[in-house]
């Protein structure tokens, strides 16, 4: 293991040294030629550059070739994996591309007359000017592409991370022992009182909730209709426990049922409301789920009657927010007031990738 690590380090050192040497040689040769030209002729880099820029064909061809080299690098040579191939392609590309540019500028000089010492110096002067141009354009563009690619990769990775965090939270809520114990207690109560039909309905709903949690956790977005069916099941279950202490009003028009939302988004908000507020018949917790048509958002609002020992870490809301940022680049609105707590989730309109869209089997559970 250590031997392999040592070999890897040794290889890296040699690679670095060789790369540095090749870069240094290129740079020193360039400077030597430049200084030789200044000493031998009245070479001016500015004048040579102006002559290059005023030749649109040469400029156009150089830029096109630079883009071609860049696309080859981007497609076939990943960053940091084959450093020699990349640097070799840089140099080859710059040398050949500059040669083409020089030939375009001095095509007459090359083919119409015999090459003299003066014209040779002129060619060399133009050549090193075009080399400088290509070095700047190609390497600078490659750096920009590298950053863009890295940023894209970082965004993908962070999206995956957020998704995993969210799935973890969903998994935790699936396995939430409190929810399961409470559900089993309610079920026990129903069985003890010989309420067979209610017990049977309760079991079906509980199964439906778990089915949805298991099926939808892997999708990025779900239809509002599916999420609302799930929320209804969930509310029915917790209503068995809270009885008259909980009032949930759903006011989502049918035209919004085909819009999309992240899975379990509304359910998490309902769960949060019951977790942090007092829920009893004397002071019922009223939750309203409605669509804010102006803003194109689905809202969950509840009256505020916080429990004394209620401590919120904000993990649930944070996770929903991160999911929205990753999927649509939007943030959720959290709007607490003295009497109410309101959260608005953006409605997702278009679906680009159907693989990320979950479809809930509506007939699986009778509602």
């Amino acid at each position: 293991m250590i031997d392999r690590e040592g070999k890897k380090n040794g290889k890296f050192v040699w690679q670095t040294i060789l790369l540095l040497v090749s870069v240094a040689v290129f740079r020193l040769l360039y400077v030597d030629v430049y200084e030789m030209l200044i000493a031998a002729t009245h070479f001016s880099l500015v004048e040579a550059a102006l002559s290059f820029f005023s030749n649109y064909w040469a400029l156009f061809l150089s830029v096109v070739l630079d883009i071609a080299i860049l696309s080859i690098l981007y497609r076939y040579i990943p960053y940091g994996v084959m450093p020699f191939r990349r640097v070799a392609l840089y140099f080859t590309g710059i040398i050949v591309n500059s040669l083409v540019g020089t030939l375009v500028i001095h095509s007459r000089l090359l083919f119409a007359e015999p090459i003299t010492k003066v014209s040779g110096f002129m060619l060399l002067g133009t050549y090193i000017t075009v080399v400088l141009f290509n070095v700047i354009v190609l390497l600078f563009a490659d750096l920009l592409v590298y950053f863009k690619r890295t940023k894209k990769e970082v965004l993908i990775q962070s999206g995956k991370k957020h998704k995993v965090q969210y799935q973890y939270q969903q998994l935790k809520s699936q396995l939430n022992p409190h929810f399961l114990f409470n559900s089993l207690n309610v079920l026990d109560y129903l069985v003890q009182n010989d309420e067979k039909q209610r017990a049977s309905d309760y079991i079906k709903k509980l199964a439906g909730v778990y089915r949805y949690l298991l099926n939808m956790g892997e999708y990025k977005i779900v239809r509002i209709a599916d999420e609302m069916n799930f929320v209804r099941l969930y509310v029915d279950l917790i209503k068995e426990r809270f009885i008259d202490g909980l009032e949930v009003t759903v006011d989502v028009p049918n035209e919004y049922m085909d819009k999309y939302i992240i899975p379990c988004g509304i359910q998490t908000l309902v769960e949060n409301a019951t977790k942090h507020n007092i829920v009893n018949a004397k002071s019922p917790l009223c939750i309203r789920i409605y669509v804010d048509e102006k803003e194109g958002k689905i809202a969950v609002e509840n009256n505020l009657q916080l429990r004394v020992n209620a401590q919120s870490t904000g993990v649930g809301l944070n996770n929903i927010n991160k999911q929205y940022q990753d999927i649509v680049g939007k943030e959720i609105d959290v709007l607490p007031s003295e009497t109410t707590f309101l959260v608005k989730l953006p409605l997702i309109q278009a679906v680009k990738n159907t693989a990320n869209v979950g479809a809930f089997e509506e007939n699986a559970v009778s509602l």
Binding site: L19, L20, A24, L28, V31, M82, Y90, V135, I136, L139
Partner: protein, 119 residues
């Protein structure tokens, strides 16, 4: 994060000093300082790139770009200092110019390479 910035700081300042010493020494013996200065600049750029875990091929590309920038900035900078001093090169103008350019190139490298890390 602080540790990497400190490392980059030390690296850049050490290389600036090394550049200055090289210029003084090579000028003293009347030898061209082109090669050692180029090598020092390359090593500095790759070294700072390593601190921020920049890929070696991109570091090499950046080093080449910055070497050209350094060459033009160094020569033009020294000429500018000479112009400001009425046509004659003031003592240690090359040294001052080399140190300033090395620091500029070093911090440009930090700016570019740390961008990726921040992201």
């Amino acid at each position: 994060m602080k540790n990497t910035t400190l490392k980059a700081n030390i690296t850049i300042h050490l290389f600036a000093i090394a550049h200055a010493l090289t210029v003084i020494m090579f000028r003293h013996y009347n030898i061209s300082d082109d090669i050692p200065l180029t090598v020092l600049t390359l090593v500095m750029v790759v070294g700072v790139g390593r601190i921020y875990r920049f890929p070696i091929d991109i570091s090499a590309a950046l080093a080449l770009l910055l070497c050209f920038a350094g060459f033009y900035m160094g020569t033009k900078g020294a000429e500018m200092i000479a112009c400001l001093a009425g046509g004659t090169l003031i003592p240690y103008a090359n040294v001052i110019c080399t140190v300033v350019v090395t620091e500029l190139l070093g911090w440009a490298t930090v700016f570019i390479t740390s961008k990726q890390r921040n992201e």
